[in-house]
Symmetry: C4
Subunit: 276 residues, 4 copies
């Protein structure tokens, strides 16, 4: 009994290293296989929604779905067994996603149509973002990340401004175009305003009256100018990162007080006056 427990512990440890670790060859291989299976599972769910394809290969797709579901189920159980605090994993973001990815197929045994929920599996694609933490990409993606973090405050203010503008312009267009045309309600008008301000312009709703078209023209030119704002914010952040890199290397720290970061051509320490 004792020996069996010890064996189980060794097994748990090994599984833990393979599933959660990324330093060993097996750990990395597992990550790759898992990502591969996730991608395949999402492609299968996609193909099932394509009518013609599903009718032709219904059985094959179903069999593949079950294979993947069982693979995901085993992975989920191993994740719970091998971790020290299983409760923490189960209620974590990825834990819930992993569970939601396996359940739909089991439900479909009892409720016809529950397999529609297997679309939820697409959320497992979020694991694909973990690749960006890989050392190969981490430098570039952390650079991107930092620039976005630095611009966050300005971008939020900008979005707030855009949302309030959309409500005001949307209400105005509802009154101008009248409820007879395509602008059937204020929420729809706001939807149109966002479609227009972002220069998407589906054309499912478009102004028909001369006054509406004039206001729309102003909104478009505004949107065209406004796009400069987030772009400018992010550009400037990237540029200042690049700029910092391009400033010449500073000389050694002061030999007296140890203060670092003197100007390039300083002769005396600007903190204690010691000659450098």
């Amino acid at each position: 009994m004792e020996r069996m427990k010890s064996r189980f512990d060794t097994f748990r440890q090994k599984v833990n290293i393979i599933i959660y670790g990324t330093n060993t060859a097996y750990g990395r291989l597992f990550d790759l296989v898992l990502l591969g299976v996730i991608v395949v599972s999402v492609i299968i769910v996609m193909l099932e929604t394509v009518k013609g394809f599903d009718q032709k290969y219904h059985i094959e797709l179903l069999v593949l779905e079950w294979i993947i579901t069982i693979f995901f189920t085993i992975e989920y159980i191993l994740r719970i067994i091998s971790i020290k605090k299983p409760i923490r994993y189960i209620f974590s973001f990825y834990g819930i996603i992993d569970l939601l990815a396996t359940l739909p197929m089991y439900f479909s045994l009892f409720f016809a149509g529950a397999s529609v929920l297997s679309v939820l599996r697409a959320v497992r694609l979020l694991r694909l973002f973990k690749i960006l933490k890989h050392p190969k990409f981490s430098n570039q993606s952390s650079h991107l990340h930092q620039a976005l973090i630095a611009s966050k405050g300005k971008i939020l203010i900008f979005m707030y401004f855009m949302l309030v503008s959309s409500v005001i312009i949307g209400s105005l267009m509802y009154v101008v175009e009248g409820s007879q045309g395509a602008f059937t309600s204020i929420p729809v008008s706001i939807y149109w305003t966002i479609v227009t301000l972002t220069t998407v312009g589906y054309g499912d709703i478009s102004p028909a009256t001369p006054l509406g078209q004039s206001i729309a023209s102003i909104v478009m030119i505004m949107g065209y100018g406004i796009i400069a704002v987030p772009t400018g914010i992010v550009s400037a952040e990237f540029a200042s990162f690049n700029f910092k890199k391009s400033i010449p290397e500073r000389v050694n720290p002061c030999p007296n007080c140890g203060v670092d970061g003197h100007e390039f051509n300083a002769k005396y320490c600007n903190n204690c006056g010691e000659a450098l």
Copy 2:
């Protein structure tokens, strides 16, 4: 009588602090409640324009509208009573908006359909922009504001250029496409040109003749290049702000050797070692 007047004065003063002030706890609470009520009032106006929803909950929406109208009316009266120069407030931008937000419901008692005007209430959303002056955001939003102010001249010239181009291109397309197709008049052609130059592209009007499509292609590539101009202007402004921030503030020149441009927190001249 005298005492009553004195009481009224104390009341006015208290109300003034709550309504106009932002330093006391009550003042801040009032601002928050007011913004909340404005948002709710706009949502109600929105829902009233959604046909299905309005038919189902007509009574509930009407009751809520009246509650909000009375709240706004009391707020408006208090604003007038508690301020020293009520005339100035009444004819100020926000004063007129506040009045316009209360009137429609009272009009609707006498004229059926006047409640349509309650859409005007959306303009009160402009008060939401006041949040941007809050200390929490003021740093970021003043940064945004300054960059926009600095680019204003160039952006106005750019818009002038775009407007004149739109009229010329619009007239050209009217002649090329002929009045038989979707380009029924020059104003409509100009509307199409703006839709195209800003890359919105609804598709409600699109060229049908080969020559028209060729000109449209050129206009699109122009528009694509032109978008670089406002973006470039604003980007450069943001970048120069960031750049200025990245250069430390300079103190006065060294009293001994007169060298200028020391770092912000330098204590000794980096040229001669003299204490600053």
Copy 3:
């Protein structure tokens, strides 16, 4: 006779100063009036193309058209009389435009329908660009102009790249989508490619086959990335203009050799070694 000629010369001189000059009060007034009449003439031509409006106010519009035509005719004759080298003006760009703006109405006396050509008058709007040379705007607009000139080479290469790409992608889409669908010919496919690459997206032509939609998706993401190129070019030019302005003012020229533009903290002239 001699006296009459001298009078005529004085008259010519005065007219020249008013029409071509911009320094006297009358000269500036004439420019303003001319621009005003051009704007009015273009608005009239616009309104004539709006069916409902033209039927109602046909006579009024016609009278106004004739008044403006006569004004333009007098202006044209005065321009020829008052200038020293009339031939040069007549065959200059603006000379031809000014002539084309007057002729259509006279033609319409002989050929019904020739008044359609009065659309040509819109080209006179190009004179509105002359405003940008006004001292009030010239600083900002010359800044814009210089940045565009500096980016010209790169933008031309970029447009060449885009044109060739459009032809290749357009041909590919023609083959993929087949001539049965909306992609009826290669020129139309190229038109679609430009509409898509520039993110205009009318939707008058859109891919219907899965393969076509996949290629379209790639083209869109390409277009989305490509827009960064002209924007980046122009942004960088603006930024480097701003940057140059932000470099600290340089000290006076060298007292010995007169060379200018030394570094901020230089002690000796870097051209002749003289102490600064």
Copy 4:
């Protein structure tokens, strides 16, 4: 016999210089003629796909096609004969393209309809990119090239992020909009997401339910913010190139005082006055 071989060798050498060389007058002329013929051949293929035009000038177009095909065939044979390692050319990228450009017409002799493949000729347009290596443009285009190379890593990560987001959002929209509407399958929903995120917005597919429109609004605002990322990356690269150019090249440090960072054309040290 020997003499004939020697003559053939001289011929091969001459042809090689003309076809592959760019230094002689004939070499440059040949390049120009070839590019001209490629452009003409692509225009002919284009016109053939325009129904009305093809019916009218079928014979003329066919004759021109044969002339060009024979020209391309001779060019292809000369390329093989005159090069030292013909195998290498035949299986190179341009070798295969050159072959594919000649074959379709010969096939059309045996199989009706094979001339459709002459669309492949458009790929020869890729040769037009070779112009960018011409000394006249090489400076500007290498600048463009370097900025794109420098941003490659970040742009790839960005595209990866966008692709994964598109799949997740597309799946979500499929569930929300239901398969009844325009969102018939997940691949179509993903196509819609890309159309929306890139702000193209055809409008062939657009959300009809209020919830779908709300999600679409969020996707659009996201897309609007996201466009800032590639633009910012590329702008910053261009800006740092310009910045580096604006800092003059530094010569070696001063031999007397060792101060570094002198201006490019400095003759004397700006710190101690020593000749550099």
